[in-house]
Structures are given as C-alpha cells and as structure tokens.
C-alpha cells in the first residue's frame, strides 16, 4: 500500500483502518490492519471463518473499538464515535430484522431515528422507493416471519440503503441463501451498488462471490491482511501459496529455483520438470520454492511427451471437464480442459495414459512459506 493513501486527506478515500488491532483477551481478532477504502468501490474481505472479517467490519460500524490503531471515516477519526452517530449502515449476518415490526416499519426505522424526524409522507415515499429497489413492491404491511429467507435479505438491504449511508457493510449477506438465489442476489447487489454509488464492503468466505462482485479483494488470514488487489491481480499475481489457493483452484509443486532473469524464474520440480514463470518478490537462484500452476493452463493430450500422466478421475462440468491425473514424479494434480480443447484430442477415460504440457510463463514461482 502506498504511503499517500494513509494520509487521511486523500479525497478518494472514504474510510481507513490504520494499524487497527482488536484483541479479545488472548485472541487477536484483527492484527494491525492497514486499509484505505476508495469512494464508491466494491471491496470484499475474503478469508476462512474466524479470520477476523466480521471484527474488521464491526470496527468500521463502531460496535468494536480497536485496541490499538485508528479508524477514519471520510477523513475524520471515529474511534470514539458510537455506532448510531456513524454514517455507516450494516446488513447483519442473519439480518437482525425487528420481529415486532412490519416490513415497512423495519425499512423506515433508520429514517424515523433522524432528528428532526422527516414528515410521514416523505418516509412513506422513501419506503416505497426502497421496496421497489429491492424488488419487493407491495410487501410493506407484511410481517417479518411471513417472508422467505431471500425476501428477508432484501428487507435487510432496503433497511440499510434507505439511509443513504456513506459506507454499506454487508456481513456474509448471502450465506443463508441457496445457490441459485445467491447467484441472482449477487448480480442484483452489484447492479444496486453501481446505481446507488454507495461504497460497499462485503464480507464473505466464498471466493467465487468475492471474485465475481468486487473491485478489490482483501485476503485475510489469522486477523491480518495477506494481500489486497483486484480479482485479476490476485488471480494472476498471488503473493503466496495461501492466496493462490484461496483465489481460484491451483496445483502446487515444490522445487528449487535454478535461474532468475528479471521477473521470470525457472524452477525445477521433482524429476527435473521445469516450471517457468513470474517470480514473487525476493525469489533468488538456489532457493527452494513453490510453483503454482492453474488447472486451465495445463493441456492434456493422448500422445507421449515430457510429462506422461495417467488419468485417475474425470468430472464433467459442462463447458469444461476436470481431470485428476497422476505423474510418477509430480504426484496427482488437476487439469481443466475446455470442450474446444477436447474436441481435437478426444477425451481420455480414467486409466488411459497421455501427456501434459504448459507453456513457458504459465507458472508462478512463489516463496515457500
């Protein structure tokens, strides 16, 4: 992260965490988090359960005060400002809708807290607009328990966006939805974000969700940020094995670096098999390293070649077929073959042998840490 993004008077930054650390007794839930959130962007916190995503979000919302470090909203230090005075709204993990209020009453809750309170007609109009926005027109008088999971999620969303927050925080909003509904909701959420121009921060443990929706993703592990970048950057230039594994599938092969020239390194794996590709920072000749090779960058053919393999398993995925293959030196790894690629070669059955290839530069040479 550049130093200038930490200055706070950076006009493009809507929120910032500076060295934010949160301890719960001996547990460090957030570890020295430095992050500047750009105005209008869609940012995701991605990481496994328990890595501190919710804690980071709750520090922005004001439910947790950082043990160390500072939180800035719109250039102002807000460590001591309680949640109800922050221009931030949150969609809670299990929605936290008010069970004693109707859908409309839930949605207008935020507007009714404003002082002076807006006139009733204005509130009603805003509620109707919000219901339109989340595609629930006419559902206002309903009771919360009469709504399905997906509908409740929209109500929670409407309740948050009606306040036109500077920052909308979403804590695993899609986790409780089934797959089809989740996909629809992802698209809707993205459309909504563009339409409203509000900065969204999404917490998720679902890499596909993060990859498909975000402008930037913040990969977290054990309370700290491992890498921040656009989905493409993270996919093409993961900093280490953890990121490469978390963002998309990858195969990992251990070996020794035999040469480095510029940004490219050559690593020799088991059996002297060569992996050439972009080297992470600090990779030097002679060190042991890991090569990451995406399944779709490996091609499989019937003929013999440098890297012979036996097909162990095959899964048909529609447009692609995923092969699990075995090489005496490299062990088992995955290949993703497109239908197009298969058309020429014909598909291989489990037990058949063939060979694999990848072009120079396809691999990523990562530090072995």
């Amino acid at each position: 992260m550049g130093a200038e993004s930490l200055t706070g008077d950076d006009k493009s930054s809507i929120a910032e965490l500076r060295g934010a650390t949160k301890r719960f007794g001996a547990v460090v839930a957030a570890r020295n988090i430095n992050l500047s959130i750009n105005r209008g962007e869609f940012l995701s916190f991605l990481g496994p359960s328990g890595c501190g995503k919710t804690t980071a979000l709750r520090m922005l919302a004001g439910f947790e005060t950082p043990t160390e470090g500072d939180i800035y909203l719109d250039g102002q230090r807000v460590n001591d400002i309680p949640p109800h005075q922050r221009p931030v709204n949150m969609v809670f993990q299990h929605y936290a809708l008010f069970p004693h209020l109707t859908v409309a009453e839930n949605i207008c809750y935020g507007l009714r807290q404003r002082r002076p309170r807006p006139p009733a007609v204005e509130i009603e109009a805003a509620v109707n607009r919000a219901l339109e926005t989340v595609r629930l027109p006419g559902f206002g008088p309903r009771r919360i328990w009469e709504m399905s999971g997906g509908q409740q999620q929209r109500v929670a969303l409407a309740r948050a966006i009606i306040n036109e927050p500077k920052l909308l925080l979403l804590d695993e909003p899609m986790a409780a939805l089934d797959k089809k509904l989740r996909h629809d909701m992802q698209i809707e959420l993205q459309t909504l974000q563009r339409k409203l121009g509000i900065t969204f921060i999404l917490v998720t443990h679902d890499q596909e969700e993060a990859l498909s929706m975000s402008d930037r993703i913040c990969i977290m592990l054990d309370g700290g940020i491992v890498q921040i970048g656009s989905p493409r950057e993270l996919y093409d230039r993961p900093k280490n094995r953890y990121v490469a594994d978390f963002v998309g599938k990858s195969n990992f092969f251990e070996g020794k670096v035999t040469s480095v020239s510029g940004e490219t390194a050559d690593m020799r794996g088991a059996g002297g098999i060569s992996f050439i590709g972009h080297a992470s920072a600090g990779i030097a000749t002679g060190q042991s390293a890991i090569a990451s090779l995406r399944p779709e960058q490996i091609s499989l053919s019937r003929g013999s070649g440098d890297v012979p393999v036996t097909v162990v398993n095959r899964i048909f995925l529609g447009e692609h077929t995923e092969y699990l293959v075995q090489n005496p030196d490299l062990g088992q790894f995955l290949i993703l073959a497109s239908r197009q690629a298969e058309a020429g070669e014909g598909n291989l059955e489990p037990g058949e042998t063939g060979s694999v290839r990848w072009r120079d530069g396809a691999a990523l040479i990562l530090n072995n840490d």
């Binding site: 439910f63 809750y109 328990w145 309740r159």
Partner: protein
Amino acid sequence: MSTRLRTSLLLAPATAWLLAMLVLPLVVVAVFSFGERAAAGGYSAAFTLENFANLGARWAAFKNTLMLAPAGTLMCLIIAYPLAYYLAVKVDPKWRTLLLILVIVPFWTSILIRSYAWIYLLGGQGIPKLISTLGFGNPRLINTPFAVLIGITYGYLPLMVFPIYVSLERLDKRLLEASADLGSPPWRSFLQVTLPLSTPGVATGCMLVFILLMGEFLIPAMLGGGKVFFVGNALVDLFLQSRNWPYGAAVAVALVVIMLVTVTAYMRFTRRWAGGRDDVSLM
C-alpha cells in the same frame, strides 16, 4: 393402537385429575351458591338468587381486592422490570445465577413467617419508629392498605421477575446493534426494541401475579389487621366462621366471574398491543 386412542389413554390421568380437582369443585360451588344456609350452618338444597342479591353487603372486600390486586401487580411490575433488566442484560454473567437464586430465596420460607417479619417492620417498633426518630412525624403503617400493598408486592415480586427476565434474556442482542446502526441512541433502542419485545414476559408476569392476588387472603389478614380485607378473607369468614356456605359460594362465583372478565379483557388488550403476533405467549 390408533394414535388417537393412545393419546386419549395417555391423557386419561390428567383428565381425571382435572375433572376431580378443578371442574367438580367449581360445579359444587356453583350449585351451592343457589342454595340456603342450613339451620346449623353449611348447605341446604334450594334454588334462590338471594345470595347474589346480598353480594353488596361484602362490597368492601370486593373494593379492596379490586384496588389492591391491580395496584400490587403494578408495583411488582415497576420494581421487577428494572431488576429483571439488570439481571438479564447488565450483570456480569458469572454473578447471574447467584443473584437469580437470591431472588427466589424468600420462597424457601413460608409466607407466614415472612409476613410476621413485616408485621414487626411496619409495626410501632419498626420503620415508623425510625421515621419519627428522624423527625418526619409519627406515621402509622401496620393495618393500613399501604401495609397490605407492601406485603403483597414483596410476596409476589419473584413471580413477576422471572417471566420478564426470561423474555429479556432471550432477546437477540444483535437487534439492539441493528437499532444503533440505524441511528438510534441506546435509550431509544430500549423503548423501540427491548420494551416491545419483552411484552410477552410482562404480560405473563402481570397475569400470574394478578390472578393470584385476586385470591390472596393471608397477607391482608396479617398486615391489614382485619381492617383491610380481601374477598379471600370474606370467604374464610363465610365458610369457616359464620358457616354460611351458600353465601360464601355466591361470593366465590362472583370473584371467578370478575376474574374471567378482567383477564379476558386484558388478553384482548395485550394481543392488540403485541400487534397480533402469534409468538406472544399469554400463559
């Protein structure tokens, strides 16, 4: 065996118990209320409405009950709500169980003994003496409606604390966070979220205390000194002293009717108040 038959068989003991212990006595009381007092006391069969026509003679008992039972319920509510709130929300969880036990500790001793304690506290040597020593006049507490009110409030407080405690304890804390997130300061979140969501507990507690207070006789007898008597005291008097069973039965029937009416009205009211929610338990 059909499910239905099995259910009936399983329910048979409970049904028999209810019939023998609840319905039958009620029927007996209802029948007695239309009878006449036998010469030596007790019941002699007849059909007369005279017992009901004479209810006015016991008006004072009804008046006291109908004023002090709601007043006692209200006092219990006013004291129990903050206490339950403290126990459910504020207190350090490691002390919670201990404090909850302390709330029920008084139940481990008979109300008779505890009322004796109050007789002493409210009597000439107790609180009134303290007040007069401090120079605030010479108040009389024992044998007044106020003494009875203190006694019933004290006696029934735990029955109000527990249902409210349970409903507050169950309250999802994230709802309060959501409320804060939407711009509500803590005190307004209390009014808009905590209070409405604890109404089931409040309704249950009020109902419990009110119904039991309507039938109370021990505390008024001890702390009211025969001056502040409840319908319960009238019944003791009519059945055990003057042995006018039919008149006593009529008073009892009147009390049951009054309770049915107030409780039904109250349930209607709370149900509307709770916005027609199904999850509001009214006992």
